[in-house]
């Protein structure tokens, strides 16, 4: 980007330019037409020469404060005024403000005879007067070739034209000369011979009943110009050239992640959703919910406070809003808040370039953060496949350069290979979601997977995709020996698994109870044993008591004997032994 800008800056320093103010044209000419020099615009009838020339003057007068003289050889001033009113140009007003002067030059061959020498001093004087009257910096001669029809002496005419262009240069005006396209030559009368600083060719081609206007810079002295043919269009805002091929891969990259509007899908996309400013493609067969995904994305963006543009080639805005309400999305609230704009048109309504130009224009006006194109395949109907492909690349480049996240949908026809897009743009999209049908057990269910998503660890899982009245829901699919299970098969599988689970629970409970009982049993036995042991202990105590009682009796007896002074008996030793215990 900066490199390009620097390059342009250098060029503009080299050669002074008169900006045309025409969208796109200044870009490809690196600043406009050469200042103070004549520019030749040639093209066949109806190619838009007069309009381009007129817009050069009008923009000059309104945007660059440079007055202009329009010398018309074909149309009168009222006719011109009327013709360009449809483009939003009010010539009367400009004439009143002395920013524009229209001089109609009528050449009627039938009332002119020639005898002897002459020159075109009259034309010079008229032009000079007009230029001086309003201090014009820009001049248009449309179409000066008409002189060739009005005057016979070609030798004089050519010499005078050469002098005229020289004179215009000396005057220092930026002149635009229009000329009819000739056979095998740029102009019918070889004007390119005289005007050699800048030559622009306009072309109007009809292919497959759809017309496209194209512009090419044939030569531009002192300026490295784009050499391609650039499509252009004429609409209610005048001329616009699409310098689309000048777009490159220099867009800024954002690390910001934005939600897809479906939490489960965000999870699949590395947990955070898409990258901002990338291109997302959803493809799938008919009725798989592509538009619903787009609507979710739009809804999420609007909730974040981002503006969205929705280009629908199949449904009208009303239909979209109604249909999305059925899955619980209220898009109407966003359109009312001017957060969301729908643009619905049939793809075949215009040519491809026109579509592209309209998208460009609306995007520039509305400045959205998210653009949805639904579906891109429709655009093929408006042109051939190759054109549609280049157009989409241009469009994607354009959106990327603006940091707009593009959400495209694409219908895959049932017969085709599934992972294939009609316009072969799969290589230029960043994230590709695929929605497909799974037909099983007499029903059709939807599944979604992430085919690719650049720069994030995305899920490789297939998810069942449900459209509920609360929006899109993603569920795990069952992958079993019978293949992928969805819908009611999934439900029955779920039921089966639930039953098994229940059984397991019951079994576990039963085992638990058994264990408790066993434990109780053991504890009971332990208690019994303990009782037994206690009983044993008790009987031993009894023994000891017996012994001490016997000893006591013996002692008593001894004491009795002592008191009676009897002889010592053997018995007396027994209590002694007991005492030592």
């Amino acid at each position: 980007m900066s490199k390009l800008a620097r390059k342009k800056e250098k060029e503009s320093l080299r050669l002074p330019k008169a900006p045309t103010g025409i969208q796109g044209l200044d870009e490809i000419t690196a600043g406009g037409f050469p200042r103070g020099r004549p520019t030749l615009i040639c093209g066949s009838a109806g190619a838009g020469k007069t309009l381009l020339a007129m817009e050069f003057l009008v923009r000059g007068a309104t945007e660059y404060n440079e007055a202009g003289v329009f010398m018309a050889f074909e149309e009168t001033a009222p006719e011109l005024t009327q013709n360009v009113r449809s483009l939003g140009f009010d010539l009367d007003e400009l004439v009143k403000e002395k920013k524009l002067l229209i001089d109609y030059v009528r050449i009627e061959r039938s009332e002119i005879d020639e005898t002897g020498d002459y020159d075109l001093e009259g034309l010079f004087i008229r032009l000079g007067t007009a230029i001086d009257a309003i201090g014009a910096k820009r001049v248009v001669l449309d179409t000066i070739e008409n002189l060739f029809a009005g005057l016979q002496n070609q030798g004089i005419l050519r010499a005078e034209l050469r002098r005229l262009f020289r004179w215009l240069k000396d005057k220092g005006v930026s002149a635009v000369i229009t000329a009819e396209r000739g056979e095998g030559a740029l102009t019918r009368h070889g004007l390119e011979e005289y005007v050699s600083d800048c030559v622009i060719l306009l072309d109007h081609r009809v292919t497959d009943q759809i017309s496209t206007r194209r512009l090419r810079i044939v030569k531009y002295r002192g300026t490295a110009h784009g050499t391609n043919e650039y499509p252009f269009l004429i609409d209610e805002d005048g001329f616009s050239v699409l310098p689309v091929t000048s777009l490159g891969l220099q867009h800024e990259v954002s690390g910001e992640r934005i939600s897809s509007g479906i939490p489960r899908l965000d999870t699949m996309l590395g947990g955070e959703g898409f990258y901002r400013g990338t291109t997302i493609l959803v493809s799938g067969t008919a009725g798989t919910g592509k538009t619903s995904l787009a609507a979710h994305f739009v809804d999420a963006a609007c909730r974040r406070g981002e503006r969205c543009l929705y280009f629908s080639f199949e449904e009208s805005p009303g239909q979209m809003v109604r249909n999305m309400r059925s899955i619980g999305l209220n898009l109407d609230q966003w359109t009312r808040k001017n957060m969301l704009q729908f643009h619905s048109s049939r793809a075949t309504f215009y040519g491809l370039e026109m579509h592209l130009a309209i998208i460009h224009k609306v995007v520039q006006q509305f400045d959205p953060k998210v653009v949805v194109i639904d579906p891109i395949g429709s655009l093929i109907q408006a042109g051939n496949e190759r054109d549609a492909h280049t157009m989409l690349i241009r469009l994607i480049d354009f959106l990327k350069q603006r940091g707009v996240t593009a959400f495209l949908t694409n219908l895959t026809s049932a017969g085709d290979a599934l992972e294939r897009t009609d316009v072969e743009i799969s290589s230029i999209v960043d994230s590709w979601l695929f929605v497909r049908d799974i037909e099983l057990n007499g029903e059709r269910n939807r599944a979604l997977y992430v085919l690719k998503s650049r720069g994030m660890a995305h899920s490789n899982q297939l998810r069942e995709f449900l459209l509920t009245e609360r929006g899109v829901d993603l569920l795990d699919v069952y992958v079993g020996p019978d293949g992928v299970l969805t819908g009611s098969s999934r439900l029955s599988q779920e039921a089966r698994e639930n039953a098994v689970q229940q059984m397991r629970l019951l079994e576990a409970e039963r085992k638990d109870r058994e264990r408790i009982r066993k434990r109780e049993l053991l504890e009971a036995r332990i208690a019994a044993l303990r009782k037994e042991f206690e009983m044993e202990e008790e009987s031993e105590n009894d023994n000891a008591q017996e012994v001490s009682r016997a000893k006591l009796i013996a002692e008593n007896r001894e004491a009795m004997a002592r008191s009676r002074h009897a002889d010592r008996t053997r018995d007396a030793t027994v209590p002694k032994a007991r005492r030592s215990q």
Binding site: R106, D113, Y118, D119, E121, L147
Partner: protein, 120 residues
């Protein structure tokens, strides 16, 4: 001036139109010569015009010379591009002859003072 007409499919109407447009012999001729400065070509044109008028329109012509260098705004009125241009304002219809009128024959034809020479 008499115009010899051949056999025509609608002689009546065409004849009428031709006669209507034919300058009447006694009309006063209003001629205007546009020049740009006193160039040799302008002077020659004026001299040639004067000669033709004296020979063919003696006493019933007016020549007005307009110098566009002095009055550039007048160029638009008669749609003047080439210099010198002679404009026959009257009699109607308007005729223009560009050039220095060097070729008297052609000038006379241009002014409709003489029939165009038959094609060779």
């Amino acid at each position: 001036m008499k115009k010899s007409t051949g056999a025509q499919p609608q002689p009546q109407s065409l004849q009428e139109i031709a006669e209507k447009n034919e300058p009447a012999p006694n009309d006063v001729w209003e001629l205007r010569l546009y020049v740009a400065g006193q160039t040799p070509r302008s002077l020659a044109a004026f001299a040639n015009l004067k000669k033709i008028c004296e020979e063919h329109l003696a006493g019933r012509y007016n020549i007005e010379v307009v110098d566009l260098v002095k009055h550039p705004q007048l160029a638009a009125g008669d749609q003047i591009l080439a210099i010198p241009t002679l404009v026959r304002k009257l009699p109607q219809p308007l005729r223009k002859i560009v050039g220095d009128l060097r070729d008297t024959e052609r000038a006379l034809v241009g002014l409709q003072l003489r029939q165009a020479p038959p094609e060779k």
